[in-house]
Subunit: 138 residues, 2 copies
Amino acid sequence: MINSRVAVAVHILVLIASKPHDDLASEYIASSVNTNPVVIRRILGMMRKAGLIRTVAGKAGAALTRPASAITFLDVFQAVEPDNSLFAVHENPNPQCPVGKGILAVLEEAFSSAQAALEAKLSAQTIQDTLDRLFPER
Amino acid sequence: MINSRVAVAVHILVLIASKPHDDLASEYIASSVNTNPVVIRRILGMMRKAGLIRTVAGKAGAALTRPASAITFLDVFQAVEPDNSLFAVHENPNPQCPVGKGILAVLEEAFSSAQAALEAKLSAQTIQDTLDRLFPER
DNA sequence: TTACGTTGTAATTATAATGGTTACAGGAGA
DNA sequence: TCTCCTGTAACCATTATAATTACAACGTAA
C-alpha cells in the first residue's frame, strides 16, 4: 500500500487553497489532519522542493506557486513519493535460466504501462477539483 | 513502492506455464528467481488460496488451474497483495474542520478511480502474453 | 514397510519505511 | 528584545518485507 503522505499532502494543499488568510501555521494544519506539526512541515518541505508551494522560514503560512487548477494529484504524488517505479522487481534472477534471463525486461514493460495508466488518472484530478467536490455550494 | 511479490509470482507462473521440467520443485524455482525456497512456497500458497494454481503437499510440481491466457496480472496482484486499497489515507482527520470533515470521502473517490485505471491495465496483461514476449520465436 | 525428497507452515531474524516525537538553530515581526 | 514560527536533525516504535531455520505431514520408489 502506498503511504499516506499523498493523502496528507492533498489535504494540506486544499487547506492552503481554501484559506484566504495567510496565517496557516503547521500547528493548525496538523490539528486538521490529526497528526504532529513536524510531519506537516516535512511534507511541506517536499512540496516546496517540488515547486508546488512557497514558504518563508520563521513565518506562518504557505502559498501555492500556481492556481489550484494547475496542481494535479500526479504532481503531489511525485512530490512526496521519491520512487519512480511503482512496482518492485526481484534482484538478480538467474541468467542461466531462460525465464530468469529475460523476465525483468518484460515485467518492467508491463508494470510501467500499468503505472502510466495510474498516473494518467492522477494527472486528471486537480486540487481545484477536490475543493469543488468538498464545497459544491461555493 | 509495491512489494516484489507480484514480480516473483509472475516469474513463477511463467516457469510453470513454460514447463521446463515436469516436476518443478520450489528449490528449482528459487534458483531461477534467486531467493529462498520458502519464499517461493509462501507465494505458491497465496496463489493456491486464490485459485490460480494447484499443488500437492509432498509432491514436487504445480499446475495452473486454467490456461495461461486466462490468468491476468490483476489476478496475480490480488492473490499476493492482501490490501484492497492502493493508497493509504490518514486516520481521523478533524471533523471540526470543514476540510477535515469531508476530505476522506473525496480522496477515496479520487484514489479508487486511479486504482481502477491501474487494475484495468493489469487485467489486460496475461501470463501467456508474458510468455510470448519472453519467447517470441516459439 | 522404510527411506528420501518435497510441501506447508510456524517461528525467528535483519532490514527498511513510515509516522510520531523531542530538540533546537535561526528567521520574522511586533 | 521577545515571541512565535519554520526547517531539520535525531531518535523511537511500529509495521512490512524478505531471508532463514526448523519440522510435521505427505508422496513415491524401493
